[in-house]
Symmetry: C2
Subunit: 266 residues, 2 copies
Protein backbone atom coordinates (compact mmCIF):
# COMPACT_ATOMS: atom_id res chain seq x y z
CA UNK A 1 0.00 0.00 0.00
CA UNK A 2 1.27 3.43 -0.87
CA UNK A 3 1.14 6.03 1.90
CA UNK A 4 1.86 9.71 1.34
CA UNK A 5 2.59 12.53 3.73
CA UNK A 6 2.36 16.23 2.83
CA UNK A 7 4.55 18.86 4.51
CA UNK A 8 3.95 22.52 3.65
CA UNK A 9 3.43 25.98 5.14
CA UNK A 10 -0.27 26.88 4.98
CA UNK A 11 -0.98 30.60 4.74
CA UNK A 12 -3.16 31.85 7.58
CA UNK A 13 -6.79 32.27 6.60
CA UNK A 14 -6.19 31.66 2.89
CA UNK A 15 -8.16 28.49 2.30
CA UNK A 16 -8.28 28.59 -1.50
CA UNK A 17 -4.57 29.28 -1.74
CA UNK A 18 -3.84 26.41 0.65
CA UNK A 19 -6.11 24.05 -1.28
CA UNK A 20 -4.34 25.04 -4.48
CA UNK A 21 -0.91 24.30 -3.03
CA UNK A 22 -1.97 20.84 -1.82
CA UNK A 23 -3.65 20.22 -5.17
CA UNK A 24 -0.44 20.91 -7.04
CA UNK A 25 1.71 18.94 -4.56
CA UNK A 26 -0.55 15.96 -5.21
CA UNK A 27 -0.72 16.44 -8.95
CA UNK A 28 -0.58 12.97 -10.56
CA UNK A 29 -0.12 11.23 -7.18
CA UNK A 30 -1.98 7.95 -6.81
CA UNK A 31 -1.96 6.43 -3.33
CA UNK A 32 -3.86 4.42 -0.73
CA UNK A 33 -3.52 6.87 2.16
CA UNK A 34 -2.61 10.57 2.20
CA UNK A 35 -2.08 12.53 5.40
CA UNK A 36 -2.12 16.36 5.48
CA UNK A 37 -1.06 18.60 8.39
CA UNK A 38 -3.32 19.74 11.25
CA UNK A 39 -5.45 22.77 10.24
CA UNK A 40 -3.92 22.63 6.76
CA UNK A 41 -6.51 24.94 5.20
CA UNK A 42 -6.68 27.68 7.83
CA UNK A 43 -3.33 28.00 9.57
CA UNK A 44 -2.85 27.52 13.29
CA UNK A 45 -2.25 30.70 15.28
CA UNK A 46 -5.65 32.13 16.12
CA UNK A 47 -5.89 35.28 18.23
CA UNK A 48 -9.50 34.86 19.37
CA UNK A 49 -12.28 32.33 19.46
CA UNK A 50 -14.25 34.49 17.05
CA UNK A 51 -11.45 34.29 14.53
CA UNK A 52 -11.30 30.50 14.76
CA UNK A 53 -15.09 30.34 14.45
CA UNK A 54 -15.02 32.43 11.31
CA UNK A 55 -12.80 29.80 9.67
CA UNK A 56 -14.82 26.85 11.01
CA UNK A 57 -16.81 24.48 8.82
CA UNK A 58 -19.16 21.55 9.15
CA UNK A 59 -18.14 18.18 7.78
CA UNK A 60 -19.76 19.13 4.47
CA UNK A 61 -18.01 22.49 4.08
CA UNK A 62 -15.37 23.68 1.62
CA UNK A 63 -12.55 21.66 3.17
CA UNK A 64 -14.61 18.46 3.08
CA UNK A 65 -15.46 19.17 -0.56
CA UNK A 66 -11.79 19.71 -1.35
CA UNK A 67 -10.75 16.44 0.30
CA UNK A 68 -13.53 14.61 -1.52
CA UNK A 69 -12.16 15.98 -4.80
CA UNK A 70 -8.67 14.77 -3.79
CA UNK A 71 -10.01 11.33 -2.83
CA UNK A 72 -11.34 10.89 -6.37
CA UNK A 73 -8.21 12.21 -8.09
CA UNK A 74 -5.73 10.21 -5.99
CA UNK A 75 -7.77 7.10 -5.20
CA UNK A 76 -6.62 7.51 -1.57
CA UNK A 77 -8.18 7.79 1.84
CA UNK A 78 -7.34 11.36 2.90
CA UNK A 79 -6.89 12.64 6.43
CA UNK A 80 -6.35 16.34 7.05
CA UNK A 81 -7.01 18.86 9.83
CA UNK A 82 -9.74 21.53 9.86
CA UNK A 83 -11.70 23.73 12.26
CA UNK A 84 -14.97 21.89 12.81
CA UNK A 85 -18.18 23.53 13.98
CA UNK A 86 -21.23 21.73 15.30
CA UNK A 87 -23.98 23.22 17.48
CA UNK A 88 -22.00 26.46 17.83
CA UNK A 89 -19.04 24.56 19.32
CA UNK A 90 -15.71 24.48 17.50
CA UNK A 91 -13.14 21.71 17.53
CA UNK A 92 -9.60 21.11 16.30
CA UNK A 93 -10.55 18.20 14.06
CA UNK A 94 -9.44 15.99 11.22
CA UNK A 95 -11.60 14.86 8.31
CA UNK A 96 -11.40 11.23 7.24
CA UNK A 97 -12.46 11.07 3.59
CA UNK A 98 -12.57 8.17 1.15
CA UNK A 99 -14.17 7.63 -2.29
CA UNK A 100 -15.86 11.02 -2.38
CA UNK A 101 -17.43 10.53 1.07
CA UNK A 102 -16.67 11.93 4.53
CA UNK A 103 -16.38 8.83 6.72
CA UNK A 104 -16.04 10.68 10.01
CA UNK A 105 -14.27 13.49 11.83
CA UNK A 106 -11.84 13.06 14.71
CA UNK A 107 -11.85 15.85 17.31
CA UNK A 108 -8.49 16.33 19.05
CA UNK A 109 -8.87 15.15 22.65
CA UNK A 110 -5.68 16.74 24.06
CA UNK A 111 -5.63 20.43 23.23
CA UNK A 112 -2.23 22.15 23.35
CA UNK A 113 -1.59 25.49 24.98
CA UNK A 114 -3.96 28.29 23.88
CA UNK A 115 -5.95 25.87 21.74
CA UNK A 116 -7.84 25.46 25.03
CA UNK A 117 -9.06 29.05 24.61
CA UNK A 118 -10.46 28.53 21.13
CA UNK A 119 -11.56 24.92 20.89
CA UNK A 120 -13.72 22.46 22.79
CA UNK A 121 -11.87 19.29 23.75
CA UNK A 122 -12.79 16.32 21.56
CA UNK A 123 -15.98 14.58 22.66
CA UNK A 124 -16.04 11.56 20.36
CA UNK A 125 -14.40 8.20 21.13
CA UNK A 126 -11.10 7.17 19.56
CA UNK A 127 -11.92 4.99 16.56
CA UNK A 128 -10.23 2.83 13.97
CA UNK A 129 -11.46 2.99 10.36
CA UNK A 130 -11.27 -0.11 8.21
CA UNK A 131 -10.90 1.35 4.72
CA UNK A 132 -10.12 -0.90 1.78
CA UNK A 133 -8.17 -3.36 3.90
CA UNK A 134 -6.17 -0.83 5.93
CA UNK A 135 -7.03 -0.20 9.59
CA UNK A 136 -6.42 3.48 10.15
CA UNK A 137 -6.32 5.30 13.48
CA UNK A 138 -6.26 9.09 13.78
CA UNK A 139 -4.77 11.40 16.37
CA UNK A 140 -3.77 15.07 16.08
CA UNK A 141 -0.41 16.59 17.03
CA UNK A 142 -0.12 16.90 20.88
CA UNK A 143 -2.14 13.70 21.37
CA UNK A 144 1.29 12.03 20.84
CA UNK A 145 2.31 13.07 24.35
CA UNK A 146 -0.20 10.70 25.94
CA UNK A 147 0.80 7.06 25.40
CA UNK A 148 -2.80 6.08 26.13
CA UNK A 149 -3.92 7.37 22.72
CA UNK A 150 -1.78 5.10 20.52
CA UNK A 151 -2.34 2.23 22.93
CA UNK A 152 -6.10 2.61 22.82
CA UNK A 153 -6.07 2.82 19.01
CA UNK A 154 -3.81 -0.24 18.84
CA UNK A 155 -6.19 -2.19 21.06
CA UNK A 156 -8.95 -1.17 18.65
CA UNK A 157 -6.98 -2.80 15.81
CA UNK A 158 -5.07 0.12 14.28
CA UNK A 159 -2.32 -0.82 11.82
CA UNK A 160 -1.50 2.66 10.51
CA UNK A 161 -1.70 5.89 12.48
CA UNK A 162 -2.55 9.08 10.55
CA UNK A 163 -1.13 11.96 12.56
CA UNK A 164 -1.81 15.47 11.22
CA UNK A 165 0.41 17.88 13.17
CA UNK A 166 1.50 21.48 13.69
CA UNK A 167 4.43 20.74 15.99
CA UNK A 168 6.29 23.55 17.75
CA UNK A 169 8.18 21.49 20.38
CA UNK A 170 11.20 19.40 19.31
CA UNK A 171 10.17 16.07 20.86
CA UNK A 172 7.47 14.35 18.85
CA UNK A 173 9.40 13.02 15.86
CA UNK A 174 11.70 11.03 18.12
CA UNK A 175 8.84 9.96 20.39
CA UNK A 176 7.01 8.45 17.42
CA UNK A 177 9.79 5.85 17.24
CA UNK A 178 8.80 4.71 20.71
CA UNK A 179 5.04 4.95 20.01
CA UNK A 180 5.54 2.66 17.00
CA UNK A 181 7.79 0.23 18.85
CA UNK A 182 5.61 -0.10 21.93
CA UNK A 183 2.52 -0.80 19.80
CA UNK A 184 4.06 -2.32 16.66
CA UNK A 185 2.22 0.03 14.33
CA UNK A 186 3.04 2.29 11.39
CA UNK A 187 2.73 6.05 11.91
CA UNK A 188 2.52 8.90 9.42
CA UNK A 189 3.23 12.23 11.10
CA UNK A 190 2.41 15.03 8.65
CA UNK A 191 3.83 18.22 10.12
CA UNK A 192 3.78 21.77 8.76
CA UNK A 193 6.70 24.15 8.36
CA UNK A 194 7.03 27.94 8.44
CA UNK A 195 6.48 30.66 10.98
CA UNK A 196 3.26 32.23 12.22
CA UNK A 197 3.57 35.47 14.17
CA UNK A 198 0.09 36.55 15.16
CA UNK A 199 -1.17 38.34 18.29
CA UNK A 200 1.14 37.48 21.17
CA UNK A 201 2.35 34.26 19.59
CA UNK A 202 5.28 33.55 17.36
CA UNK A 203 5.43 29.92 16.34
CA UNK A 204 8.06 28.14 14.30
CA UNK A 205 6.75 24.82 13.11
CA UNK A 206 9.33 22.06 13.06
CA UNK A 207 8.68 20.12 9.84
CA UNK A 208 10.57 16.82 9.75
CA UNK A 209 7.41 14.93 8.86
CA UNK A 210 8.01 11.25 9.33
CA UNK A 211 6.83 7.81 8.33
CA UNK A 212 7.81 5.25 10.98
CA UNK A 213 7.34 1.49 10.92
CA UNK A 214 6.25 -1.13 13.48
CA UNK A 215 9.86 -1.76 14.35
CA UNK A 216 10.67 1.85 15.19
CA UNK A 217 12.50 2.43 11.93
CA UNK A 218 12.11 5.84 10.29
CA UNK A 219 11.20 4.88 6.72
CA UNK A 220 11.08 8.41 5.38
CA UNK A 221 11.72 11.85 6.85
CA UNK A 222 11.28 15.39 5.50
CA UNK A 223 13.63 18.34 6.09
CA UNK A 224 12.82 20.92 8.79
CA UNK A 225 12.19 23.95 6.59
CA UNK A 226 11.15 22.77 3.12
CA UNK A 227 7.88 21.80 1.52
CA UNK A 228 7.98 18.08 0.83
CA UNK A 229 5.93 15.06 -0.15
CA UNK A 230 6.92 11.73 1.43
CA UNK A 231 5.72 8.62 -0.35
CA UNK A 232 6.46 5.02 0.52
CA UNK A 233 5.12 1.48 0.15
CA UNK A 234 4.17 -0.32 3.37
CA UNK A 235 2.47 -3.59 4.24
CA UNK A 236 -0.04 -2.69 6.98
CA UNK A 237 -0.51 -6.37 7.81
CA UNK A 238 2.95 -6.35 9.37
CA UNK A 239 1.33 -4.44 12.24
CA UNK A 240 -0.99 -7.34 13.03
CA UNK A 241 1.70 -9.52 14.54
CA UNK A 242 2.51 -8.28 18.06
CA UNK A 243 5.19 -10.94 18.77
CA UNK A 244 8.65 -9.39 19.11
CA UNK A 245 10.39 -12.75 19.67
CA UNK A 246 9.29 -16.34 20.37
CA UNK A 247 8.15 -15.44 23.87
CA UNK A 248 6.87 -11.84 23.95
CA UNK A 249 3.61 -10.52 22.56
CA UNK A 250 3.32 -6.78 23.23
CA UNK A 251 -0.41 -6.85 23.90
CA UNK A 252 -0.79 -10.23 25.58
CA UNK A 253 2.14 -9.50 27.89
CA UNK A 254 0.44 -6.48 29.44
CA UNK A 255 -0.24 -7.01 33.14
CA UNK A 256 -3.60 -5.31 33.44
CA UNK A 257 -4.00 -6.11 37.13
CA UNK A 258 -0.93 -4.04 37.82
CA UNK A 259 -1.99 -1.00 35.81
CA UNK A 260 -5.64 -0.56 35.58
CA UNK A 261 -6.60 0.80 38.95
CA UNK A 262 -3.62 3.12 38.96
CA UNK A 263 -4.50 4.36 35.52
CA UNK A 264 -7.77 5.58 36.88
CA UNK A 265 -6.25 7.27 39.92
CA UNK A 266 -6.89 10.99 39.95
CA UNK B 1 20.63 15.00 45.48
CA UNK B 2 23.44 12.91 44.05
CA UNK B 3 22.41 9.93 41.92
CA UNK B 4 24.86 7.32 40.69
CA UNK B 5 24.60 4.64 38.06
CA UNK B 6 26.94 1.66 37.75
CA UNK B 7 27.73 0.01 34.42
CA UNK B 8 29.86 -3.12 34.39
CA UNK B 9 30.11 -6.67 33.07
CA UNK B 10 29.18 -9.12 35.84
CA UNK B 11 30.82 -12.52 35.53
CA UNK B 12 28.30 -15.35 35.36
CA UNK B 13 27.83 -17.18 38.66
CA UNK B 14 30.72 -15.38 40.40
CA UNK B 15 28.91 -13.48 43.13
CA UNK B 16 31.90 -12.63 45.28
CA UNK B 17 33.90 -11.39 42.32
CA UNK B 18 30.96 -9.27 41.18
CA UNK B 19 30.48 -7.83 44.66
CA UNK B 20 34.17 -6.99 44.77
CA UNK B 21 34.03 -5.12 41.47
CA UNK B 22 31.04 -3.04 42.54
CA UNK B 23 32.73 -2.43 45.90
CA UNK B 24 35.79 -1.00 44.20
CA UNK B 25 33.79 1.02 41.66
CA UNK B 26 31.99 2.66 44.59
CA UNK B 27 35.11 3.14 46.68
CA UNK B 28 34.82 6.55 48.36
CA UNK B 29 31.51 7.33 46.58
CA UNK B 30 28.94 9.15 48.72
CA UNK B 31 25.50 9.52 47.17
CA UNK B 32 21.76 9.64 47.75
CA UNK B 33 20.76 6.98 45.25
CA UNK B 34 22.80 4.27 43.53
CA UNK B 35 21.41 2.00 40.82
CA UNK B 36 23.13 -1.25 39.80
CA UNK B 37 22.30 -3.42 36.77
CA UNK B 38 19.69 -6.18 36.66
CA UNK B 39 21.04 -9.47 38.09
CA UNK B 40 24.33 -7.72 38.86
CA UNK B 41 25.60 -10.47 41.16
CA UNK B 42 24.75 -13.56 39.11
CA UNK B 43 24.87 -12.72 35.42
CA UNK B 44 21.89 -13.08 33.08
CA UNK B 45 22.05 -16.01 30.69
CA UNK B 46 20.70 -19.02 32.53
CA UNK B 47 20.41 -22.34 30.73
CA UNK B 48 17.88 -23.97 33.06
CA UNK B 49 15.50 -23.15 35.85
CA UNK B 50 17.63 -25.28 38.17
CA UNK B 51 20.66 -23.13 37.41
CA UNK B 52 18.74 -19.94 38.17
CA UNK B 53 17.41 -21.49 41.37
CA UNK B 54 20.90 -22.38 42.49
CA UNK B 55 21.85 -18.71 42.37
CA UNK B 56 18.60 -17.51 43.99
CA UNK B 57 18.45 -15.85 47.41
CA UNK B 58 15.87 -14.57 49.84
CA UNK B 59 15.79 -10.89 50.70
CA UNK B 60 18.19 -11.58 53.55
CA UNK B 61 20.76 -13.49 51.50
CA UNK B 62 24.32 -12.62 50.47
CA UNK B 63 23.29 -9.99 47.93
CA UNK B 64 21.03 -8.25 50.44
CA UNK B 65 23.91 -8.28 52.93
CA UNK B 66 26.24 -6.79 50.34
CA UNK B 67 23.82 -3.99 49.45
CA UNK B 68 23.29 -3.26 53.16
CA UNK B 69 27.06 -2.93 53.51
CA UNK B 70 27.09 -0.53 50.52
CA UNK B 71 24.21 1.50 51.96
CA UNK B 72 26.24 2.18 55.08
CA UNK B 73 29.48 2.98 53.23
CA UNK B 74 27.88 5.27 50.64
CA UNK B 75 24.97 6.72 52.61
CA UNK B 76 22.77 5.96 49.61
CA UNK B 77 19.57 4.11 48.86
CA UNK B 78 20.73 1.22 46.66
CA UNK B 79 18.73 -0.60 44.02
CA UNK B 80 20.20 -3.63 42.28
CA UNK B 81 18.93 -6.78 40.59
CA UNK B 82 19.05 -10.33 42.02
CA UNK B 83 17.40 -13.74 41.65
CA UNK B 84 14.80 -13.86 44.41
CA UNK B 85 13.38 -17.05 45.86
CA UNK B 86 10.26 -17.31 48.01
CA UNK B 87 8.14 -20.44 48.57
CA UNK B 88 10.19 -22.32 45.98
CA UNK B 89 9.30 -19.75 43.30
CA UNK B 90 12.02 -17.64 41.71
CA UNK B 91 11.71 -14.10 40.41
CA UNK B 92 13.83 -11.61 38.46
CA UNK B 93 13.85 -9.01 41.22
CA UNK B 94 15.50 -5.89 42.51
CA UNK B 95 16.42 -5.16 46.11
CA UNK B 96 15.64 -1.73 47.51
CA UNK B 97 18.04 -1.11 50.40
CA UNK B 98 18.56 1.90 52.63
CA UNK B 99 20.37 2.54 55.93
CA UNK B 100 21.35 -1.10 56.41
CA UNK B 101 17.79 -2.33 55.85
CA UNK B 102 16.01 -4.07 52.99
CA UNK B 103 12.93 -1.91 52.36
CA UNK B 104 11.35 -4.16 49.78
CA UNK B 105 11.92 -6.17 46.63
CA UNK B 106 10.41 -5.45 43.23
CA UNK B 107 9.66 -8.49 41.07
CA UNK B 108 9.84 -7.81 37.31
CA UNK B 109 6.31 -7.92 35.94
CA UNK B 110 7.22 -8.15 32.22
CA UNK B 111 9.63 -11.02 31.66
CA UNK B 112 11.70 -10.90 28.46
CA UNK B 113 12.23 -13.86 26.17
CA UNK B 114 13.47 -17.03 27.92
CA UNK B 115 13.22 -15.37 31.31
CA UNK B 116 9.69 -16.77 31.07
CA UNK B 117 11.21 -20.25 31.31
CA UNK B 118 13.16 -19.55 34.49
CA UNK B 119 11.21 -16.96 36.44
CA UNK B 120 7.69 -16.40 37.74
CA UNK B 121 6.19 -13.10 36.60
CA UNK B 122 6.16 -10.45 39.32
CA UNK B 123 3.20 -10.78 41.68
CA UNK B 124 3.59 -7.63 43.78
CA UNK B 125 2.06 -4.22 42.95
CA UNK B 126 4.14 -1.41 41.50
CA UNK B 127 5.17 0.84 44.40
CA UNK B 128 6.87 4.13 45.07
CA UNK B 129 9.31 4.38 47.98
CA UNK B 130 9.62 7.64 49.85
CA UNK B 131 13.20 7.50 51.11
CA UNK B 132 14.79 10.55 52.70
CA UNK B 133 12.71 12.97 50.65
CA UNK B 134 13.11 11.24 47.28
CA UNK B 135 10.18 9.34 45.77
CA UNK B 136 11.70 6.37 44.00
CA UNK B 137 9.98 4.00 41.59
CA UNK B 138 11.52 0.76 40.39
CA UNK B 139 11.15 -1.19 37.16
CA UNK B 140 13.49 -3.74 35.58
CA UNK B 141 14.80 -3.71 32.00
CA UNK B 142 12.03 -4.85 29.56
CA UNK B 143 9.34 -3.22 31.73
CA UNK B 144 10.34 -0.06 29.75
CA UNK B 145 8.48 -1.39 26.71
CA UNK B 146 5.12 -0.99 28.44
CA UNK B 147 4.23 2.69 28.91
CA UNK B 148 1.76 1.66 31.59
CA UNK B 149 4.61 0.95 34.03
CA UNK B 150 6.15 4.42 34.16
CA UNK B 151 2.69 5.97 34.00
CA UNK B 152 1.44 3.92 36.95
CA UNK B 153 4.55 4.74 38.98
CA UNK B 154 4.17 8.44 38.10
CA UNK B 155 0.55 8.38 39.26
CA UNK B 156 1.83 6.87 42.51
CA UNK B 157 4.10 9.89 42.97
CA UNK B 158 7.43 8.75 41.52
CA UNK B 159 10.02 11.48 40.97
CA UNK B 160 13.01 9.26 40.14
CA UNK B 161 12.88 5.92 38.36
CA UNK B 162 15.56 3.36 39.25
CA UNK B 163 15.87 1.05 36.26
CA UNK B 164 18.30 -1.87 36.61
CA UNK B 165 18.77 -3.39 33.15
CA UNK B 166 20.49 -6.04 31.06
CA UNK B 167 19.50 -4.67 27.67
CA UNK B 168 20.16 -6.63 24.48
CA UNK B 169 17.88 -4.71 22.06
CA UNK B 170 18.94 -1.25 20.82
CA UNK B 171 15.76 0.68 21.66
CA UNK B 172 15.47 1.40 25.35
CA UNK B 173 17.97 4.21 25.85
CA UNK B 174 16.18 6.38 23.30
CA UNK B 175 12.75 5.33 24.57
CA UNK B 176 13.66 6.55 28.07
CA UNK B 177 13.70 10.08 26.66
CA UNK B 178 10.02 9.65 25.81
CA UNK B 179 9.20 7.88 29.09
CA UNK B 180 10.69 10.84 30.99
CA UNK B 181 8.99 13.47 28.82
CA UNK B 182 5.53 11.92 28.93
CA UNK B 183 5.68 11.60 32.73
CA UNK B 184 8.05 14.45 33.66
CA UNK B 185 10.25 12.21 35.77
CA UNK B 186 13.95 11.47 36.17
CA UNK B 187 15.19 8.02 35.14
CA UNK B 188 18.38 6.16 35.92
CA UNK B 189 18.90 3.25 33.56
CA UNK B 190 21.80 1.15 34.81
CA UNK B 191 22.71 -1.26 32.03
CA UNK B 192 25.40 -3.92 31.88
CA UNK B 193 28.02 -4.46 29.18
CA UNK B 194 29.84 -7.51 27.89
CA UNK B 195 28.91 -10.75 26.17
CA UNK B 196 27.38 -13.90 27.63
CA UNK B 197 27.49 -17.00 25.43
CA UNK B 198 25.82 -19.80 27.35
CA UNK B 199 23.68 -22.72 26.14
CA UNK B 200 21.92 -21.70 22.93
CA UNK B 201 22.14 -17.99 23.72
CA UNK B 202 24.75 -15.43 22.83
CA UNK B 203 23.90 -12.03 24.25
CA UNK B 204 25.73 -8.77 23.76
CA UNK B 205 24.59 -6.25 26.34
CA UNK B 206 24.38 -2.71 25.05
CA UNK B 207 25.75 -0.52 27.87
CA UNK B 208 25.03 3.16 27.31
CA UNK B 209 23.60 3.51 30.79
CA UNK B 210 21.75 6.77 31.01
CA UNK B 211 20.46 9.39 33.42
CA UNK B 212 17.56 11.30 31.84
CA UNK B 213 15.65 14.29 33.24
CA UNK B 214 11.99 15.30 33.39
CA UNK B 215 12.43 17.31 30.21
CA UNK B 216 13.79 14.41 28.18
CA UNK B 217 17.36 15.64 28.37
CA UNK B 218 20.09 13.01 28.68
CA UNK B 219 22.09 14.34 31.63
CA UNK B 220 24.75 11.64 31.53
CA UNK B 221 25.45 8.67 29.31
CA UNK B 222 27.99 5.83 29.47
CA UNK B 223 29.84 4.28 26.50
CA UNK B 224 28.60 1.02 24.97
CA UNK B 225 31.50 -1.26 25.88
CA UNK B 226 33.27 0.16 28.94
CA UNK B 227 32.78 -0.12 32.66
CA UNK B 228 31.62 3.25 33.94
CA UNK B 229 30.16 5.10 36.91
CA UNK B 230 27.77 7.94 36.13
CA UNK B 231 27.24 10.49 38.89
CA UNK B 232 25.15 13.63 38.77
CA UNK B 233 23.26 16.09 40.97
CA UNK B 234 19.51 16.32 40.41
CA UNK B 235 16.61 18.07 42.13
CA UNK B 236 13.88 15.40 42.35
CA UNK B 237 11.30 18.08 43.23
CA UNK B 238 11.47 19.25 39.64
CA UNK B 239 9.46 16.13 38.82
CA UNK B 240 6.55 17.29 40.98
CA UNK B 241 5.40 19.97 38.57
CA UNK B 242 3.54 18.38 35.67
CA UNK B 243 2.80 21.68 33.88
CA UNK B 244 4.65 21.92 30.56
CA UNK B 245 3.32 25.42 29.75
CA UNK B 246 0.66 27.74 31.18
CA UNK B 247 -2.14 25.52 29.89
CA UNK B 248 -1.03 21.87 29.92
CA UNK B 249 -0.62 19.58 32.90
CA UNK B 250 0.48 16.12 31.79
CA UNK B 251 -1.56 14.27 34.36
CA UNK B 252 -4.63 16.50 34.62
CA UNK B 253 -4.94 16.65 30.82
CA UNK B 254 -5.42 12.90 30.52
CA UNK B 255 -8.86 12.06 29.13
CA UNK B 256 -9.65 8.97 31.17
CA UNK B 257 -13.10 8.47 29.65
CA UNK B 258 -11.44 7.98 26.30
CA UNK B 259 -8.86 5.45 27.45
CA UNK B 260 -9.94 3.40 30.34
CA UNK B 261 -12.37 0.95 28.83
CA UNK B 262 -10.12 0.42 25.83
CA UNK B 263 -7.17 -0.17 28.09
CA UNK B 264 -8.96 -3.15 29.50
CA UNK B 265 -9.97 -4.58 26.16
CA UNK B 266 -8.51 -7.99 25.57
Amino acid sequence: MKVVCIQNAPKFGAKEKNFQEVRSLLNKVKADLIVLPELFATGYTFTSKAEAKELAETNHGKTAEFLKELSIKTGATIIGGFVEIEDEKIYNSALIVSENKVIDTYRKIHLFNKEKLWFEPGDKPLKVYDVKGMKIGVMICFDWMFPEVCRTLTLLGMQVLAHPSNLVMPYCQNAMVTRCLENRIFAITSNRIGREKRGQDDFNFTGMSQITNFNGEILSSAPDKKTDVLSIEIDPNKAKDKMINDFNNLLDDRRLDFYKTSYNLE
